[in-house]
């Protein structure tokens, strides 16, 4: 029963792989304190160690255990990524659904704001805002990423809402006396579930990458633990030049794997969204709707 909604994920190899990778990282994130052998910040071990039995990924130049950092970073990165992904999807939904449903002037104004946010150079904007907020934690960064990155989703939701709003079941809902807000929440949103899920996945991927980029540029609180911060330290300590690839490679691979799991899972969502892939046959227009151009 609980597993039923997950069924589509196992419908093909790609999404199943994605789902399994995702699950692994989810477990890592949830049980980080149990999995990680040491504290991620304690600088108490021999510095600059290559991988050993005690330190699987070696240690940093300040003697921190890289493996433990990796595990705890998974937690932060996932929280930040999904937090930002979900938040930006919610903002996008609010803008997109209201604009698409209301139409007219409301739509014109909201669309304008959307387009503006779409047009503002994302990373550049982020960098400026970051500079304003001073080195912020990954969570604050997640917030900013969400607040600057919702527009694309909003556009998608808007156009989907517009097609949905034209469908008769919305008129029918009006006829049954539902308020606009209720229609938006109970009639329109449930019909965009797959779009919403897809948007969350891509927004999450975007947020994870953006967060890593910001951290890499040094625009994140260096006390925090995230894959981006790990990369920042690795690169500023010339990890590659020193041959300490075990410091540089894992965070990148971690990001790539989580990202990959997201896009792979999205295949399953595609399958649900794409009407052509559904077995259900679309009924033909028996009326004479299209008789005039």
């Amino acid at each position: 029963m609980v597993l039923r909604p997950l069924k589509p994920f196992f419908s093909n190899g790609k999404s199943a792989t994605g789902f399994i990778i995702f699950l692994i990282f989810l477990i890592i994130a949830i049980f980080a304190p149990l999995i990680a052998p040491y504290s991620p910040s304690a600088a108490i071990y021999d510095p600059n160690l290559p991988p050993t039995a005690d330190h699987w990924f070696g240690t940093t130049n300040t003697g921190q255990d890289i493996y433990s950092q990796f595990i705890f970073s998974a937690r932060n990165t996932m929280v930040v990524g999904f937090g930002a992904g979900i938040l930006s999807t919610i903002i996008g939904l609010i803008f997109g659904v209201i604009a698409g449903y209301r139409g007219g002037l409301t739509d014109a104004i909201l669309s304008f704001i959307m387009n503006l946010f779409l047009v503002m150079p994302g990373l550049a904007l982020l960098i400026v805002i970051e500079a304003y907020l001073k080195a912020s934690t990954p969570f604050v960064n997640g917030l900013i990423i969400a607040f600057t990155g919702w527009a694309w989703g909003a556009r998608v939701f808007r156009s989907q809402t517009m097609t949905l709003a034209r469908r008769d079941f919305i008129s029918a809902a009006k006829m049954s006396g539902k308020s606009s807000l209720r229609i938006m929440i109970t009639e329109i949103c449930p019909n965009m579930m797959s779009l919403i899920a897809g948007n969350i996945m891509f927004a999450t991927l975007g947020a994870i990458l953006a967060e890593a980029g910001l951290a890499f540029l040094g625009l994140e609180d260096i006390n925090s633990t995230s894959w981006g911060i790990m990369l920042y330290w690795a690169s500023s300590n010339a990890a590659l030049l020193r041959g300490a690839w075990w410091w540089f490679v894992p965070p990148g691979v971690g990001i790539a794997l989580v990202g990959l799991s997201l896009v792979l899972m999205n295949f399953a969502i595609d399958q649900i969204t794409n009407p052509r892939l559904k077995t259900q046959k679309r009924r033909k227009n028996r009326g004479r709707k299209a008789a005039r151009a």
């Binding site: 008769d168 079941f169 009006k174 006396g177 539902k178 008789a291 005039r292």
Partner: protein, 328 residues
């Protein structure tokens, strides 16, 4: 018969305009132009006309999904043009609509009973067990059986006919007095259509419902409608008792429509008649049918003929009623 004479819905001088994207300045089309009609309690008024003649727009205006631009709609003696909020909510309980498309008018992610619960709760105040029972009643009433099995299903698991039945049940859920049936069978299979018409007929008889029955099929209009109103280009061309209208069509457009209907006996050569749709622009003049009408003269181009009673209860709008014999 006494009941029959109570006028439930009265529409006077209804005009509806829609803005359209013009090339430069904002333009309007007038898909409904000066329409008058009356529906008595327990009566079915059939509205026929070609695609785009404004049938749906009238229907939607009657249930207030579209706001009339001009004119008045009176239901039960109460003007409903401008009502909002609570009044509108109350009005929803009087008038309901069944949409043409049984696929588009159901929310694909809601269950069958999900479609019925809200209106029952909101308008009739059912709760808990009573609500469940009422849902079952309704489903039974429209012939959606076995009820317990069907109520948990989703629309895509139903056949077209079943969906249309659900749409009817949903309209009934608020216990209305008047239903706009907007081409309720045009998307259904022949074998299913008759069943839906039958069902609507039964409901009319049992519940004393009034209908505005919108269709493009004269045959079913004649079958289901007490009276038929013919619409062209947003204007009423003719209105009469069903049998009378089919037997004795007076307006050239009605006759054309009749001739085009498969199975009709009248033969009119249609092949070289242009298919241009009628002009709906705001500033049009004259009869909308003029560019297709074989009887058209300058008068037709200049002024719209008034609706006149040509026979008893048979109203028609045409400048050339006298010339109709020439054209057959």
């Amino acid at each position: 018969m006494n009941e029959q004479s109570i006028v439930l819905v009265k529409v006077e001088d209804l005009v509806i305009k829609f803005p359209v994207r013009g090339d430069r300045k904002k333009k309007y089309i007038t898909p409904v132009d000066n329409v008058n009609l009356e529906i008595k309690k327990g009566e079915v008024l059939a509205l026929v006309g070609e695609s785009g003649s404004g049938k749906t727009t009238i229907g939607r205006a009657l249930v207030r999904l579209v706001k009339p631009t001009e004119g008045t709609i009176t239901v039960h003696g109460k003007k409903v043009n401008e009502i909002r909020g609570k009044d509108l909510k109350d009005y929803r309980q009087v008038a309901q609509i069944i949409f043409q498309d049984p696929f588009g008018s159901l929310n694909p992610v809601k269950t069958i009973e999900g479609h019925l619960r809200f209106p029952l709760k909101k308008h009739q105040g059912y709760r808990g067990k009573a609500l469940d029972e009422k849902v079952a009643d309704l489903l039974l009433q429209v012939g959606l059986t076995p009820v317990q099995e069907i109520r948990k299903k989703h629309p895509h698991e139903l056949s077209g006919g079943q969906r249309q039945r659900l749409a009817i049940a949903r309209a009934l859920a608020v216990n209305p007095q008047f239903i706009v049936a907007d081409e309720p069978t045009s998307m259904l299979d022949v074998s299913i259509r008759a069943g839906i018409l039958q069902l609507m007929n039964d409901l009319k008889r049992d519940l004393g419902l009034s209908y505005l029955y919108i269709t493009h099929d004269l045959a079913s209009a004649r079958y289901f409608g007490d009276r038929i109103m013919v619409l062209y280009g947003g204007k009423v061309m003719e209105i009469a008792d069903s049998k009378e209208l089919i037997k004795n069509p007076l307006n050239p457009y009605t006759r054309l429509l009749l001739a085009a209907t498969p199975g009709s006996e009248s033969q009119i050569d249609l092949t070289d008649m242009t298919n241009d749709p009628p002009d709906l622009s705001e500033d049009r003049r004259g009869c909308p049918f003029v560019h297709r009408c074989p009887l058209a003269t300058d008068v037709c181009r200049e002024t719209m003929p008034a609706l006149e009673e040509a026979a008893e209860n048979h109203f028609v709008a045409c400048h050339h009623l006298d010339k109709r014999e020439q054209w057959n």
